[in-house]
Protein backbone atom coordinates (compact mmCIF):
# COMPACT_ATOMS: atom_id res chain seq x y z
CA UNK A 1 0.00 0.00 0.00
CA UNK A 2 1.31 3.48 -0.81
CA UNK A 3 1.62 5.91 2.06
CA UNK A 4 -0.18 9.06 1.04
CA UNK A 5 0.00 10.93 4.33
CA UNK A 6 2.13 10.73 7.45
CA UNK A 7 2.06 12.54 10.77
CA UNK A 8 4.95 14.97 10.69
CA UNK A 9 8.04 14.04 12.69
CA UNK A 10 7.97 17.68 13.71
CA UNK A 11 5.13 17.01 16.13
CA UNK A 12 5.68 14.89 19.22
CA UNK A 13 3.03 12.29 19.89
CA UNK A 14 1.45 14.04 22.83
CA UNK A 15 -2.16 14.73 23.58
CA UNK A 16 -2.75 18.48 23.21
CA UNK A 17 -4.19 20.68 25.93
CA UNK A 18 -5.69 23.13 23.43
CA UNK A 19 -9.49 23.46 23.38
CA UNK A 20 -11.54 21.78 20.64
CA UNK A 21 -11.62 23.96 17.54
CA UNK A 22 -8.60 26.04 18.54
CA UNK A 23 -6.30 26.63 15.58
CA UNK A 24 -3.03 26.48 17.56
CA UNK A 25 -2.77 22.82 16.59
CA UNK A 26 -2.95 23.69 12.88
CA UNK A 27 -0.39 26.48 13.22
CA UNK A 28 1.98 24.22 15.20
CA UNK A 29 1.71 21.50 12.60
CA UNK A 30 2.28 23.81 9.63
CA UNK A 31 5.49 25.20 11.11
CA UNK A 32 6.75 21.74 11.99
CA UNK A 33 5.85 20.30 8.57
CA UNK A 34 7.77 23.09 6.85
CA UNK A 35 10.82 22.43 9.04
CA UNK A 36 10.61 18.68 8.49
CA UNK A 37 10.35 19.12 4.73
CA UNK A 38 13.56 21.12 4.69
CA UNK A 39 15.31 18.66 7.00
CA UNK A 40 15.72 21.34 9.63
CA UNK A 41 14.06 19.90 12.75
CA UNK A 42 17.48 19.09 14.21
CA UNK A 43 18.83 22.56 13.54
CA UNK A 44 16.00 24.72 14.83
CA UNK A 45 15.47 26.56 18.11
CA UNK A 46 11.99 27.89 18.87
CA UNK A 47 10.78 30.38 21.46
CA UNK A 48 7.33 29.96 22.96
CA UNK A 49 5.40 32.89 24.49
CA UNK A 50 3.33 33.44 27.59
CA UNK A 51 -0.21 32.43 26.72
CA UNK A 52 -1.92 29.18 25.79
CA UNK A 53 1.04 28.17 23.63
CA UNK A 54 3.64 28.55 26.39
CA UNK A 55 3.96 24.78 26.39
CA UNK A 56 4.28 24.52 22.59
CA UNK A 57 7.56 22.77 23.41
CA UNK A 58 5.54 19.79 24.56
CA UNK A 59 4.28 19.33 21.00
CA UNK A 60 6.99 20.71 18.71
CA UNK A 61 9.91 18.40 18.12
CA UNK A 62 12.61 21.06 18.13
CA UNK A 63 14.75 22.60 20.88
CA UNK A 64 12.66 25.26 22.59
CA UNK A 65 12.79 27.91 25.28
CA UNK A 66 9.97 29.67 27.08
CA UNK A 67 10.01 33.45 27.00
CA UNK A 68 8.69 35.91 29.56
CA UNK A 69 5.58 37.72 28.41
CA UNK A 70 6.24 39.65 25.22
CA UNK A 71 10.02 39.26 25.19
CA UNK A 72 10.31 36.40 22.72
CA UNK A 73 11.90 38.55 19.96
CA UNK A 74 14.63 39.65 22.38
CA UNK A 75 15.17 36.04 23.49
CA UNK A 76 15.40 34.91 19.86
CA UNK A 77 17.87 37.72 19.09
CA UNK A 78 20.15 36.37 21.82
CA UNK A 79 19.85 32.78 20.60
CA UNK A 80 20.58 33.79 17.02
CA UNK A 81 23.83 35.51 18.05
CA UNK A 82 25.13 32.24 19.49
CA UNK A 83 23.81 29.99 16.70
CA UNK A 84 23.66 32.17 13.57
CA UNK A 85 23.36 29.12 11.30
CA UNK A 86 20.38 27.59 13.11
CA UNK A 87 16.76 28.34 12.27
CA UNK A 88 15.25 30.40 15.08
CA UNK A 89 11.60 31.37 15.38
CA UNK A 90 9.21 32.90 17.87
CA UNK A 91 5.60 31.81 18.22
CA UNK A 92 3.54 34.53 19.88
CA UNK A 93 -0.07 35.40 20.55
CA UNK A 94 -1.75 38.79 20.34
CA UNK A 95 -1.53 39.71 24.03
CA UNK A 96 2.11 38.68 24.05
CA UNK A 97 3.20 40.35 20.81
CA UNK A 98 0.77 43.22 20.29
CA UNK A 99 0.39 44.38 23.90
CA UNK A 100 3.18 43.74 26.39
CA UNK A 101 5.71 42.91 23.67
CA UNK A 102 5.28 45.70 21.11
CA UNK A 103 8.68 47.15 21.92
CA UNK A 104 10.55 43.87 21.39
CA UNK A 105 8.83 42.94 18.12
CA UNK A 106 9.29 46.43 16.63
CA UNK A 107 12.98 46.59 17.53
CA UNK A 108 13.77 43.05 16.43
CA UNK A 109 12.29 44.00 13.06
CA UNK A 110 14.14 47.30 13.05
CA UNK A 111 17.44 45.44 13.55
CA UNK A 112 16.51 43.18 10.65
CA UNK A 113 16.99 40.12 12.85
CA UNK A 114 17.46 36.87 10.99
CA UNK A 115 14.68 34.93 12.65
CA UNK A 116 10.95 34.51 11.91
CA UNK A 117 7.97 35.41 14.01
CA UNK A 118 4.66 33.59 13.74
CA UNK A 119 1.97 35.77 15.22
CA UNK A 120 -1.26 34.08 16.27
CA UNK A 121 -4.02 36.69 16.20
CA UNK A 122 -7.24 35.39 17.71
CA UNK A 123 -8.41 38.76 18.99
CA UNK A 124 -8.53 37.74 22.66
CA UNK A 125 -6.49 36.66 25.67
CA UNK A 126 -6.92 32.89 25.79
CA UNK A 127 -4.99 31.51 28.75
CA UNK A 128 -6.11 34.12 31.26
CA UNK A 129 -9.74 33.58 30.34
CA UNK A 130 -10.98 35.86 27.60
CA UNK A 131 -9.91 39.42 28.39
CA UNK A 132 -9.77 42.12 25.74
CA UNK A 133 -6.66 41.97 23.55
CA UNK A 134 -5.14 44.85 21.59
CA UNK A 135 -6.54 43.06 18.54
CA UNK A 136 -10.06 42.59 19.96
CA UNK A 137 -12.46 44.05 17.41
CA UNK A 138 -14.71 47.00 18.13
CA UNK A 139 -17.96 45.55 19.41
CA UNK A 140 -16.42 42.20 20.25
CA UNK A 141 -17.20 41.00 23.77
CA UNK A 142 -14.51 40.06 26.26
CA UNK A 143 -14.40 39.70 30.06
CA UNK A 144 -12.91 43.20 30.40
CA UNK A 145 -15.45 44.68 27.97
CA UNK A 146 -18.56 42.62 28.51
CA UNK A 147 -20.75 44.94 26.44
CA UNK A 148 -18.25 44.81 23.61
CA UNK A 149 -15.13 46.86 22.92
CA UNK A 150 -15.83 50.56 22.43
CA UNK A 151 -13.51 53.05 20.79
CA UNK A 152 -14.30 55.57 23.48
CA UNK A 153 -13.17 53.29 26.29
CA UNK A 154 -10.45 51.18 24.70
CA UNK A 155 -9.48 52.71 21.38
CA UNK A 156 -8.91 50.87 18.15
CA UNK A 157 -7.62 47.38 17.48
CA UNK A 158 -3.97 47.21 16.40
CA UNK A 159 -3.16 45.96 12.93
CA UNK A 160 0.28 44.45 13.49
CA UNK A 161 1.11 43.35 9.95
CA UNK A 162 0.41 46.85 8.69
CA UNK A 163 2.70 48.26 11.40
CA UNK A 164 5.44 45.73 10.72
CA UNK A 165 5.35 46.42 7.00
CA UNK A 166 6.46 50.01 7.71
CA UNK A 167 9.74 48.83 9.24
CA UNK A 168 12.65 48.58 6.80
CA UNK A 169 14.27 45.61 8.57
CA UNK A 170 11.10 43.51 8.19
CA UNK A 171 11.51 42.32 4.61
CA UNK A 172 8.71 39.79 4.47
CA UNK A 173 5.31 40.43 6.05
CA UNK A 174 2.21 38.42 5.28
CA UNK A 175 -1.15 37.91 6.96
CA UNK A 176 -2.84 34.57 6.40
CA UNK A 177 -5.93 32.88 7.76
CA UNK A 178 -6.46 29.41 9.16
CA UNK A 179 -10.19 29.40 8.33
CA UNK A 180 -10.33 27.07 5.33
CA UNK A 181 -8.24 24.23 3.89
CA UNK A 182 -7.23 26.41 0.93
CA UNK A 183 -6.13 29.22 3.25
CA UNK A 184 -4.28 26.77 5.46
CA UNK A 185 -2.26 25.68 2.41
CA UNK A 186 -1.47 29.33 1.69
CA UNK A 187 -0.46 29.79 5.31
CA UNK A 188 2.01 26.94 4.98
CA UNK A 189 3.54 28.60 1.94
CA UNK A 190 3.93 31.85 3.87
CA UNK A 191 5.61 30.02 6.76
CA UNK A 192 7.96 28.33 4.32
CA UNK A 193 8.78 31.66 2.70
CA UNK A 194 9.57 33.15 6.09
CA UNK A 195 12.13 30.40 6.72
CA UNK A 196 13.60 30.99 3.24
CA UNK A 197 14.10 34.65 4.10
CA UNK A 198 15.84 33.61 7.29
CA UNK A 199 18.02 31.04 5.55
CA UNK A 200 19.09 33.60 2.95
CA UNK A 201 19.82 36.14 5.71
CA UNK A 202 17.63 38.70 3.98
CA UNK A 203 16.09 40.21 7.10
CA UNK A 204 13.22 39.78 9.48
CA UNK A 205 10.16 37.75 8.42
CA UNK A 206 6.73 38.09 10.00
CA UNK A 207 3.66 35.95 9.38
CA UNK A 208 0.37 36.78 11.09
CA UNK A 209 -2.08 33.88 11.29
CA UNK A 210 -5.74 34.77 11.88
CA UNK A 211 -6.90 32.16 14.36
CA UNK A 212 -9.91 31.12 16.39
CA UNK A 213 -10.61 30.88 20.10
CA UNK A 214 -14.04 29.19 20.29
CA UNK A 215 -13.88 28.84 24.09
CA UNK A 216 -13.34 32.51 24.85
CA UNK A 217 -15.41 33.71 21.92
CA UNK A 218 -18.24 31.59 23.36
CA UNK A 219 -18.92 29.76 20.10
CA UNK A 220 -18.82 26.33 18.60
CA UNK A 221 -15.70 25.59 16.53
CA UNK A 222 -17.66 25.85 13.27
CA UNK A 223 -19.31 29.12 14.28
CA UNK A 224 -15.87 30.44 15.23
CA UNK A 225 -14.56 29.78 11.73
CA UNK A 226 -17.52 31.67 10.27
CA UNK A 227 -17.01 34.52 12.77
CA UNK A 228 -13.35 34.78 11.83
CA UNK A 229 -14.24 35.08 8.13
CA UNK A 230 -17.09 37.52 8.68
CA UNK A 231 -15.51 39.76 11.30
CA UNK A 232 -11.73 39.45 11.47
CA UNK A 233 -10.91 39.30 7.77
CA UNK A 234 -12.66 42.61 6.92
CA UNK A 235 -10.59 44.43 9.59
CA UNK A 236 -7.43 42.36 9.17
CA UNK A 237 -7.13 41.84 5.40
CA UNK A 238 -5.46 38.61 4.36
CA UNK A 239 -2.61 39.64 2.11
CA UNK A 240 1.09 39.81 1.49
CA UNK A 241 2.24 43.22 2.67
CA UNK A 242 5.86 42.96 1.78
CA UNK A 243 8.06 40.50 -0.04
CA UNK A 244 11.70 40.16 -0.93
CA UNK A 245 13.19 39.69 -4.37
CA UNK A 246 13.77 36.06 -5.22
CA UNK A 247 17.42 35.11 -4.75
Amino acid sequence: MNTVFEYTKGMREKEMHYCPGCTHGIAHRLIMEVLEERGALGNTIGVSPVGCSIVAHQYMNVDMLESPHGRAPAVASGIKRVHPESYVFTYQGDGDLASIGTSEIIHAAERGEHFCTFFINNAIYGMTGGQMAPTTLVGQKATTCVEGRTVKQAGFPLRMSEIMSQIDGAVYVERVSLATPAEIRKAKKAISKAFDVQKNKQGFAFVELLSTCPTNWGMSPTDAIVWLKDNMVPYYPVKKFKDVEEV
Binding site: G42, N43, P68, R71, V75, G78
Partner: protein, 359 residues
Protein backbone atom coordinates in the same frame (compact mmCIF):
# COMPACT_ATOMS: atom_id res chain seq x y z
CA UNK B 1 49.74 37.91 35.53
CA UNK B 2 49.99 40.59 32.91
CA UNK B 3 51.68 43.91 33.60
CA UNK B 4 49.70 46.55 35.39
CA UNK B 5 48.08 49.28 33.36
CA UNK B 6 46.06 52.31 34.36
CA UNK B 7 42.41 51.73 33.44
CA UNK B 8 39.00 53.20 34.06
CA UNK B 9 36.87 50.83 36.13
CA UNK B 10 34.10 50.20 33.61
CA UNK B 11 36.55 49.52 30.77
CA UNK B 12 38.60 47.23 32.96
CA UNK B 13 35.40 45.32 33.88
CA UNK B 14 34.59 44.78 30.21
CA UNK B 15 38.14 43.69 29.39
CA UNK B 16 38.15 41.22 32.28
CA UNK B 17 34.89 39.74 30.96
CA UNK B 18 36.33 39.27 27.47
CA UNK B 19 39.43 37.66 28.98
CA UNK B 20 37.12 35.32 30.89
CA UNK B 21 35.74 34.10 27.55
CA UNK B 22 32.62 36.26 27.46
CA UNK B 23 31.57 36.79 23.84
CA UNK B 24 28.02 38.10 24.16
CA UNK B 25 27.00 41.38 25.70
CA UNK B 26 23.61 43.06 25.75
CA UNK B 27 22.97 46.43 27.30
CA UNK B 28 21.07 49.66 27.38
CA UNK B 29 22.61 53.05 28.18
CA UNK B 30 22.43 54.15 31.80
CA UNK B 31 24.85 56.24 33.84
CA UNK B 32 27.29 55.45 35.48
CA UNK B 33 28.10 52.29 33.50
CA UNK B 34 28.02 53.52 29.88
CA UNK B 35 31.70 52.78 29.24
CA UNK B 36 30.87 49.06 29.43
CA UNK B 37 28.45 48.92 26.45
CA UNK B 38 30.62 51.45 24.59
CA UNK B 39 33.67 49.26 25.06
CA UNK B 40 31.82 46.08 24.12
CA UNK B 41 30.39 47.68 20.98
CA UNK B 42 33.96 48.36 19.81
CA UNK B 43 35.64 45.18 20.97
CA UNK B 44 33.41 42.09 20.97
CA UNK B 45 33.18 41.65 17.21
CA UNK B 46 36.99 41.48 17.06
CA UNK B 47 36.75 38.32 19.15
CA UNK B 48 34.02 36.73 17.05
CA UNK B 49 31.39 37.73 19.59
CA UNK B 50 28.28 39.86 19.39
CA UNK B 51 27.01 43.08 20.93
CA UNK B 52 23.45 44.37 20.79
CA UNK B 53 22.36 47.75 22.08
CA UNK B 54 18.96 46.64 23.28
CA UNK B 55 15.84 48.79 23.12
CA UNK B 56 15.45 48.55 26.92
CA UNK B 57 16.79 46.74 29.93
CA UNK B 58 13.84 44.35 29.56
CA UNK B 59 15.06 43.39 26.11
CA UNK B 60 18.72 43.28 27.16
CA UNK B 61 18.16 40.79 29.95
CA UNK B 62 16.04 38.61 27.70
CA UNK B 63 18.66 38.66 24.95
CA UNK B 64 21.06 37.48 27.64
CA UNK B 65 18.58 34.79 28.65
CA UNK B 66 18.35 33.55 25.05
CA UNK B 67 22.10 33.63 24.50
CA UNK B 68 22.77 31.84 27.80
CA UNK B 69 20.19 29.16 26.95
CA UNK B 70 22.00 28.74 23.64
CA UNK B 71 25.24 28.08 25.54
CA UNK B 72 27.03 31.41 25.18
CA UNK B 73 29.09 33.16 27.88
CA UNK B 74 27.02 36.26 28.49
CA UNK B 75 27.55 39.55 30.28
CA UNK B 76 24.92 42.13 31.15
CA UNK B 77 25.51 45.44 32.84
CA UNK B 78 23.32 48.21 34.14
CA UNK B 79 22.81 50.50 37.08
CA UNK B 80 20.28 50.39 39.92
CA UNK B 81 16.93 51.28 38.25
CA UNK B 82 17.99 49.40 35.13
CA UNK B 83 18.79 46.36 37.23
CA UNK B 84 15.35 46.70 38.84
CA UNK B 85 13.84 46.45 35.36
CA UNK B 86 15.84 43.29 34.72
CA UNK B 87 14.80 41.53 37.90
CA UNK B 88 11.80 39.69 36.40
CA UNK B 89 14.09 37.91 34.04
CA UNK B 90 16.90 37.42 36.55
CA UNK B 91 14.32 35.36 38.45
CA UNK B 92 13.47 33.62 35.18
CA UNK B 93 17.13 32.88 34.41
CA UNK B 94 17.51 31.40 37.89
CA UNK B 95 14.34 29.35 37.42
CA UNK B 96 15.63 27.84 34.17
CA UNK B 97 19.08 27.41 35.78
CA UNK B 98 21.17 29.36 33.30
CA UNK B 99 24.50 31.12 33.82
CA UNK B 100 24.61 34.90 33.28
CA UNK B 101 26.98 37.46 34.79
CA UNK B 102 25.53 40.89 35.59
CA UNK B 103 27.49 43.99 36.57
CA UNK B 104 25.50 46.49 38.61
CA UNK B 105 27.25 49.85 38.91
CA UNK B 106 25.06 51.16 41.72
CA UNK B 107 23.73 54.70 41.86
CA UNK B 108 21.49 56.63 44.23
CA UNK B 109 17.85 55.68 44.62
CA UNK B 110 14.94 55.18 45.06
CA UNK B 111 13.27 55.80 41.74
CA UNK B 112 15.36 57.45 39.06
CA UNK B 113 17.43 58.84 41.92
CA UNK B 114 20.90 60.26 41.33
CA UNK B 115 23.83 59.14 39.20
CA UNK B 116 26.32 59.29 42.07
CA UNK B 117 27.68 56.22 43.93
CA UNK B 118 25.34 54.47 46.33
CA UNK B 119 24.88 51.14 48.08
CA UNK B 120 21.12 51.26 48.44
CA UNK B 121 20.71 48.27 46.10
CA UNK B 122 21.85 45.88 48.83
CA UNK B 123 18.29 44.70 49.45
CA UNK B 124 17.49 44.59 45.74
CA UNK B 125 20.42 42.34 44.95
CA UNK B 126 20.53 40.14 48.05
CA UNK B 127 16.95 39.61 49.19
CA UNK B 128 14.81 41.33 46.65
CA UNK B 129 14.89 41.31 42.94
CA UNK B 130 12.49 39.09 41.16
CA UNK B 131 9.66 36.88 42.34
CA UNK B 132 9.94 33.45 43.83
CA UNK B 133 12.43 31.26 45.66
CA UNK B 134 15.92 31.76 44.27
CA UNK B 135 19.08 33.59 45.17
CA UNK B 136 21.48 35.69 43.14
CA UNK B 137 25.15 35.14 43.97
CA UNK B 138 26.58 38.62 44.60
CA UNK B 139 30.20 39.81 44.70
CA UNK B 140 31.17 43.28 45.93
CA UNK B 141 34.57 44.54 44.77
CA UNK B 142 36.32 47.40 46.52
CA UNK B 143 38.98 48.09 43.88
CA UNK B 144 39.19 47.84 40.12
CA UNK B 145 41.69 44.99 40.43
CA UNK B 146 39.36 43.08 42.69
CA UNK B 147 36.42 43.77 40.37
CA UNK B 148 38.37 42.31 37.44
CA UNK B 149 39.32 39.22 39.43
CA UNK B 150 35.72 38.76 40.60
CA UNK B 151 34.28 39.19 37.09
CA UNK B 152 36.80 36.67 35.77
CA UNK B 153 35.80 34.16 38.42
CA UNK B 154 32.07 34.96 38.19
CA UNK B 155 31.70 33.28 34.79
CA UNK B 156 32.98 29.99 36.20
CA UNK B 157 30.82 30.31 39.32
CA UNK B 158 27.76 31.09 37.16
CA UNK B 159 28.38 27.98 35.07
CA UNK B 160 29.16 25.78 38.05
CA UNK B 161 25.99 26.86 39.86
CA UNK B 162 23.96 27.43 36.67
CA UNK B 163 22.70 30.65 38.21
CA UNK B 164 22.92 34.41 37.75
CA UNK B 165 25.97 35.97 39.40
CA UNK B 166 26.06 39.71 40.05
CA UNK B 167 29.05 41.97 40.50
CA UNK B 168 27.79 44.77 42.69
CA UNK B 169 30.11 47.70 42.11
CA UNK B 170 29.27 51.32 42.74
CA UNK B 171 29.66 54.45 40.66
CA UNK B 172 32.97 55.17 42.39
CA UNK B 173 34.64 51.91 41.30
CA UNK B 174 33.10 52.16 37.83
CA UNK B 175 34.26 55.69 37.15
CA UNK B 176 37.69 55.96 38.78
CA UNK B 177 41.04 54.88 37.33
CA UNK B 178 43.48 52.51 39.00
CA UNK B 179 46.40 50.32 37.97
CA UNK B 180 45.16 46.85 37.17
CA UNK B 181 46.75 43.57 36.05
CA UNK B 182 44.24 41.90 33.78
CA UNK B 183 43.60 38.17 34.13
CA UNK B 184 44.91 35.84 31.40
CA UNK B 185 42.56 35.33 28.43
CA UNK B 186 40.80 31.96 28.22
CA UNK B 187 39.42 30.41 25.04
CA UNK B 188 35.64 30.62 24.91
CA UNK B 189 33.38 27.67 24.15
CA UNK B 190 31.68 28.59 20.87
CA UNK B 191 29.71 27.11 17.99
CA UNK B 192 29.80 23.34 17.61
CA UNK B 193 31.79 22.92 20.79
CA UNK B 194 28.82 24.12 22.84
CA UNK B 195 27.00 20.86 22.09
CA UNK B 196 29.83 18.83 23.63
CA UNK B 197 30.71 21.06 26.56
CA UNK B 198 27.22 22.22 27.55
CA UNK B 199 24.86 19.32 26.90
CA UNK B 200 21.97 21.22 28.51
CA UNK B 201 22.17 24.08 26.01
CA UNK B 202 19.82 24.72 23.11
CA UNK B 203 21.79 23.87 20.00
CA UNK B 204 19.26 22.00 17.84
CA UNK B 205 18.85 18.27 18.54
CA UNK B 206 20.52 17.17 15.24
CA UNK B 207 18.24 14.13 15.35
CA UNK B 208 20.75 12.74 17.86
CA UNK B 209 18.95 13.36 21.13
CA UNK B 210 15.50 14.25 22.48
CA UNK B 211 14.56 17.86 21.93
CA UNK B 212 15.37 20.18 24.83
CA UNK B 213 12.49 22.15 26.32
CA UNK B 214 13.83 24.72 28.78
CA UNK B 215 10.84 25.78 30.82
CA UNK B 216 10.02 28.17 33.61
CA UNK B 217 6.28 27.52 33.83
CA UNK B 218 4.84 24.68 35.88
CA UNK B 219 1.17 23.97 35.36
CA UNK B 220 1.23 21.41 38.18
CA UNK B 221 2.20 22.96 41.51
CA UNK B 222 3.44 19.69 43.02
CA UNK B 223 5.99 19.41 40.23
CA UNK B 224 7.20 22.95 40.86
CA UNK B 225 7.70 22.14 44.54
CA UNK B 226 9.73 19.08 43.55
CA UNK B 227 11.74 21.15 41.08
CA UNK B 228 12.58 23.78 43.71
CA UNK B 229 13.63 21.00 46.09
CA UNK B 230 15.87 19.61 43.38
CA UNK B 231 17.79 22.83 42.75
CA UNK B 232 17.76 24.29 46.26
CA UNK B 233 20.81 22.34 47.57
CA UNK B 234 23.04 24.42 45.30
CA UNK B 235 22.13 27.52 47.31
CA UNK B 236 22.97 25.68 50.54
CA UNK B 237 26.27 24.69 48.94
CA UNK B 238 26.86 28.33 47.98
CA UNK B 239 26.27 29.37 51.60
CA UNK B 240 28.84 26.81 52.74
CA UNK B 241 31.45 27.38 50.07
CA UNK B 242 31.20 30.84 48.54
CA UNK B 243 31.31 33.16 51.57
CA UNK B 244 34.26 35.55 51.17
CA UNK B 245 35.45 38.44 53.25
CA UNK B 246 38.56 40.30 54.34
CA UNK B 247 39.57 40.81 57.98
CA UNK B 248 41.46 44.03 58.62
CA UNK B 249 42.89 44.54 62.12
CA UNK B 250 40.08 42.53 63.68
CA UNK B 251 42.22 40.42 66.02
CA UNK B 252 41.94 42.59 69.18
CA UNK B 253 39.15 44.86 67.97
CA UNK B 254 36.60 46.25 70.38
CA UNK B 255 34.85 48.16 67.64
CA UNK B 256 34.21 46.35 64.39
CA UNK B 257 33.25 48.06 61.16
CA UNK B 258 31.42 46.12 58.49
CA UNK B 259 31.68 47.75 55.07
CA UNK B 260 31.90 46.66 51.44
CA UNK B 261 32.84 48.15 48.10
CA UNK B 262 34.37 51.59 47.91
CA UNK B 263 32.97 52.40 51.37
CA UNK B 264 35.23 49.71 52.84
CA UNK B 265 38.25 51.69 51.66
CA UNK B 266 36.98 54.73 53.54
CA UNK B 267 36.29 52.59 56.61
CA UNK B 268 39.83 51.22 56.40
CA UNK B 269 41.26 54.71 56.57
CA UNK B 270 39.10 55.39 59.60
CA UNK B 271 40.46 52.21 61.21
CA UNK B 272 44.04 53.40 60.69
CA UNK B 273 43.24 56.89 62.00
CA UNK B 274 41.56 55.55 65.14
CA UNK B 275 44.30 52.96 65.73
CA UNK B 276 46.77 55.87 65.72
CA UNK B 277 44.72 57.33 68.57
CA UNK B 278 44.86 54.01 70.40
CA UNK B 279 41.29 52.94 69.70
CA UNK B 280 41.01 49.23 68.93
CA UNK B 281 39.05 49.22 65.71
CA UNK B 282 38.89 46.64 62.94
CA UNK B 283 37.01 45.96 59.73
CA UNK B 284 35.18 42.99 58.27
CA UNK B 285 34.81 43.58 54.54
CA UNK B 286 32.25 41.27 52.89
CA UNK B 287 33.42 40.31 49.39
CA UNK B 288 30.25 38.32 48.85
CA UNK B 289 26.95 40.00 49.74
CA UNK B 290 25.05 36.78 49.05
CA UNK B 291 25.97 34.48 50.55
CA UNK B 292 26.62 36.92 53.38
CA UNK B 293 29.90 36.03 55.17
CA UNK B 294 28.34 34.97 58.47
CA UNK B 295 31.43 32.92 59.22
CA UNK B 296 33.36 36.16 59.67
CA UNK B 297 31.29 36.82 62.81
CA UNK B 298 31.86 33.47 64.53
CA UNK B 299 34.22 34.93 67.12
CA UNK B 300 33.18 38.29 68.54
CA UNK B 301 35.05 37.96 71.86
CA UNK B 302 35.86 41.41 73.21
CA UNK B 303 33.80 43.22 70.59
CA UNK B 304 31.51 45.84 72.10
CA UNK B 305 30.32 47.63 69.03
CA UNK B 306 29.69 46.48 65.51
CA UNK B 307 29.09 49.34 63.08
CA UNK B 308 27.71 48.96 59.59
CA UNK B 309 29.31 51.63 57.42
CA UNK B 310 27.30 51.94 54.24
CA UNK B 311 25.69 54.22 51.67
CA UNK B 312 22.06 53.47 52.55
CA UNK B 313 19.55 55.30 54.73
CA UNK B 314 17.76 52.17 55.83
CA UNK B 315 20.89 50.34 56.90
CA UNK B 316 20.30 47.53 54.45
CA UNK B 317 23.67 45.91 55.16
CA UNK B 318 23.13 46.50 58.87
CA UNK B 319 20.21 44.08 58.86
CA UNK B 320 22.42 41.21 57.74
CA UNK B 321 25.07 42.33 60.22
CA UNK B 322 22.55 42.15 63.07
CA UNK B 323 21.51 38.67 61.98
CA UNK B 324 25.16 37.58 62.00
CA UNK B 325 25.97 39.28 65.34
CA UNK B 326 22.97 37.58 66.99
CA UNK B 327 22.82 40.01 69.90
CA UNK B 328 26.44 39.51 71.02
CA UNK B 329 27.30 43.18 70.51
CA UNK B 330 25.53 46.45 69.90
CA UNK B 331 24.98 47.10 66.21
CA UNK B 332 25.02 50.67 64.91
CA UNK B 333 25.02 52.47 61.61
CA UNK B 334 27.24 55.10 60.01
CA UNK B 335 25.80 56.08 56.67
CA UNK B 336 25.29 58.59 53.90
CA UNK B 337 22.86 58.15 51.04
CA UNK B 338 21.29 59.50 47.89
CA UNK B 339 24.68 59.67 46.17
CA UNK B 340 26.55 61.36 49.04
CA UNK B 341 29.77 59.75 50.28
CA UNK B 342 31.34 59.26 53.68
CA UNK B 343 34.85 60.47 54.34
CA UNK B 344 37.23 58.95 56.88
CA UNK B 345 37.07 61.97 59.21
CA UNK B 346 33.27 61.75 59.38
CA UNK B 347 33.46 58.03 60.09
CA UNK B 348 36.00 58.65 62.89
CA UNK B 349 33.89 61.37 64.44
CA UNK B 350 30.64 59.38 64.30
CA UNK B 351 32.42 56.32 65.68
CA UNK B 352 33.52 58.28 68.72
CA UNK B 353 29.96 59.45 69.32
CA UNK B 354 28.68 55.89 69.15
CA UNK B 355 31.39 54.76 71.60
CA UNK B 356 30.44 57.53 74.03
CA UNK B 357 26.85 56.40 73.97
CA UNK B 358 27.97 52.99 75.23
CA UNK B 359 29.21 54.53 78.47
Amino acid sequence: MAEKQLMKGNEAFATAAINAGCRYYFGYPITPQNEIPEFMSRELAKYGGAFIQAESELAAVNMAYGAAAAGGRVLLSSSSPGVALMQESISLIASVELPVVIINVMRGGPGIGSIQPSQADYDQVTVGGGNGDYKTIVYAPSSIQEACDMIYKAFDVAEEYRNPVMICADGMIGQMMEPVALPEPVEPVMGEEIRKKKPWALTGHRNERERHALNSVWLQQDLLEEYIDAYWPKFEKAERELQEWEDFMTEDAEVLYVAYGSTARIAKEAVVALRNEGVKVGLIRPKTLWPFPEKAFENLDGVKDVISVELSKAGQLKRDVRLAVEGRARVSLINRYGGMLLDPAEVVERTKKIMEEVK
